[in-house]
């Protein structure tokens, strides 16, 4: 069953220069127990989309969707308060720069126990304190922190970035979420600690059957950890499919460029040869191209691309492009280079 099913979600922002369509009809679905990657470069609207899902958007932002289902419940029909209550219970989110998300003046232990809901504790009120402490220690063990005493009695600045991220994950787990949204959880971390955090998330996914939405700007970093991937560019939906489909047989010119520019996928290239890349830079919100927003940078663009393409579905591999790279053409492109 689809845990989350979003169809054509748009977000408009009010800016001094008028309304801007920051996210343009993006669809996203997450199945129970899967790890989905959401890939996009800066300005792709991936974080906006995540914020729209958990509903922390400001009033200045106008969100519309054709469909917004959470475990079969139509969220668009619920009142805002009901929706918030429902999503708060089931979804948790962690961010990049964990250190700035934790309260610098409060001990880790207190911040953790704050996150534990009283309804999770059984027993009389005089037993609560002890139970709470036990729950905190259990949470810390769950995220792989063994020296719990030391951790509980530290302030965030005394811990490393990676431990802080683990604490953030522990806080997120306190609510026993069904879906965890991780927004670039390993940005600015060492590659070895990055691996640890990803492995922890993968373990939680396997053991607790918790679904994870993993947001990142780097396709090659994600491929090892995800089942399915959705790619966005400049607020538009680009391509979605299983990780193998996206990485091995990209159909959209943009995904193709991402894969081609990844140094890991091109190990057969001689060193110091030129990498394939798209010309130009990512458009800014104030000057978005009309139609397909990749248009000005796209090597396959033609006249029709001034109209936004619709999504077509090839055996579960969804792509939004007028001229997708189908298997045959994909080969031809490869041969001619």
């Amino acid at each position: 069953m689809n845990l989350l099913d979003i169809r054509n979600l748009s977000i408009e922002l009010d800016t001094p220069s008028g309304r801007v369509l920051a996210v343009d009809r993006v669809s996203l679905s997450i199945k129970e127990g899967e790890v989905r990657g959401l890939v996009g470069e800066s300005g792709s609207g991936k974080s906006l989309l995540a914020q729209a899902i958990i509903g922390v958007l400001e009033d200045k932002w106008h969100v519309h969707a054709d469909r917004f289902h959470w475990r079969g419940i139509d969220l668009l029909r619920l009142s805002i308060d009901d929706r918030k209550a429902l999503l708060c219970r089931d979804i948790a989110m962690i961010f990049q720069e964990p250190m700035s998300c934790l309260d610098p003046t409060t001990l880790i232990g207190e911040q953790l126990s704050e996150a534990i809901d009283t309804s999770q504790l059984s027993g009389y009120f005089w037993q609560r304190k002890k139970q709470r402490k036990e729950a905190v220690i259990k949470l810390l063990h769950k995220v792989g922190i063994k020296k719990h005493e030391q951790c509980i009695n530290s302030y965030p600045h005394q811990l490393t970035e990676a431990i802080c991220q683990r604490v953030m994950i522990a806080i997120a787990l306190a609510g026993r979420p069904i879906l965890l949204i991780a927004d670039e959880p390993t940005a600015a971390m060492e590659s070895t600690t990055q691996g640890q955090i990803f492995r922890l998330l993968a373990n939680l996914n396997q053991l607790k059957n918790m679904s994870i939405l993993l947001i990142s700007h780097d396709l090659e970093n994600l491929t090892h950890w995800t089942n399915t991937i959705t790619v966005m560019y400049s607020g538009q939906f680009v391509e979605a499919g299983s990780t193998e489909q996206i990485f091995n047989k990209p159909m959209h010119p943009y995904t193709r460029a991402l894969v081609d520019s990844s140094t890991k996928a091109n190990l057969q290239l001689p060193t110091k040869s030129r990498l394939m890349t798209l010309p130009g830079s990512i458009p800014v919100l104030q000057h978005l191209p009309i139609g397909c927003r990749l248009g000005p940078r796209c090597p396959r663009a033609q006249q029709t691309c001034v109209a936004a393409p619709t999504v077509s579905n090839y055996h579960g591999h969804k792509v939004s492009c007028h001229f997708p790279l189908l298997r045959e053409t994909g080969k031809k492109v490869k041969g001619s280079h």
């Binding site: 780097d218 140094t263 060193t271």
Partner: protein, 258 residues
């Protein structure tokens, strides 16, 4: 080819606070030597605290080494002689946005090193700025803009322009590619490779992305806790990593070269 930069037995240690008869020392960098030729790239890989940043700081002259000598073109670089050094060894940082003064236009930003280090008059300087901007793929007219008007990738190009404007011989890229989006990163890699060929630059690339290191560098040095644990030709080291640290690094990035 002749050796451009020759580093001999550089070491750095800090004195820690302690009792006066119980002085302790922290070795940030154990003695190490290496040499780079023109048009070559040396990659330095290591975790935080491995001493790679200390090494970079010593090379640009922001720190003085405790022992050891640096030769550029066979000439000894003196610790206090900043003018000579900053003309020939330049550095680019990860977060280019914060290294550009937001209250100056691009022209003023690029003018500064020229005024301090060259005897060019105003018109010559302006022309040089224009051609340098074009070299890094920007327009000459961009020089009247302020840094905030550029995107992250373009800011990185401006940092690059500022680095190459004095016609240096060595550029240190301190994680300069890490914060860029993938499609801009490959543009930047292409640009850096082109400039290397055109200007005969030597790069010292500090990075932990092994994919980039593999693609970009000729030699590699793996550092851990202030020591070089493994060094050699990039391809050979990656094909057959010997040291535990290297192996762990490659494992953590699921990296394998057949």
């Amino acid at each position: 080819m002749s050796v451009l930069l020759d580093v001999k037995d550089i070491a750095k240690s800090f004195k820690l606070k302690g009792h006066w008869y119980h002085k302790r020392k922290l070795n940030a960098l154990s003695p190490l030597s290496f040499a780079i030729e023109a048009k070559k790239t040396l990659a330095i890989v290591g975790e935080t605290g491995s001493g790679k940043s200390t090494l970079a700081k010593i090379l640009v002259g922001a720190e003085t080494p405790t022992t050891g000598k640096i030769y550029l073109n066979g000439q000894l670089l003196k610790n206090q002689h900043f003018k000579q050094r900053c003309q020939h060894i330049r550095m680019i940082f990860q977060d280019s946005g914060t290294t550009l003064n937001p209250s100056l236009t691009i022209q003023e930003l690029l003018d500064e090193p020229l005024i301090l280090n060259t005897v060019l008059n105003e018109k010559q300087r302006k022309n040089l700025i224009r051609t340098t901007l074009q070299k890094v793929g920007l327009l000459g007219d961009h020089m009247n803009f302020y840094p905030h008007m550029f995107s992250g990738g373009q800011k990185q190009r401006i940092s690059l322009a500022r680095a190459i404007i004095l016609q240096p011989q060595v550029i240190i890229l301190d994680e300069a590619l890490a914060a860029l989006d993938p499609s801009l990163r490959s543009q930047m890699i292409n640009l850096l490779l082109d400039l290397q060929q055109q200007m005969g630059l030597a790069y010292i690339l500090i990075s932990h992305n092994l994919g980039i290191v593999r693609h970009f560098s000729d030699d590699v040095m793996i550092m851990s806790q202030g020591e070089v644990v493994e060094s050699g030709k990039t391809i050979e080291v990656m094909r057959n990593p010997q040291h535990k640290v290297t192996q762990k690094l490659m494992m953590s990035q699921n990296f394998q070269i057949k």
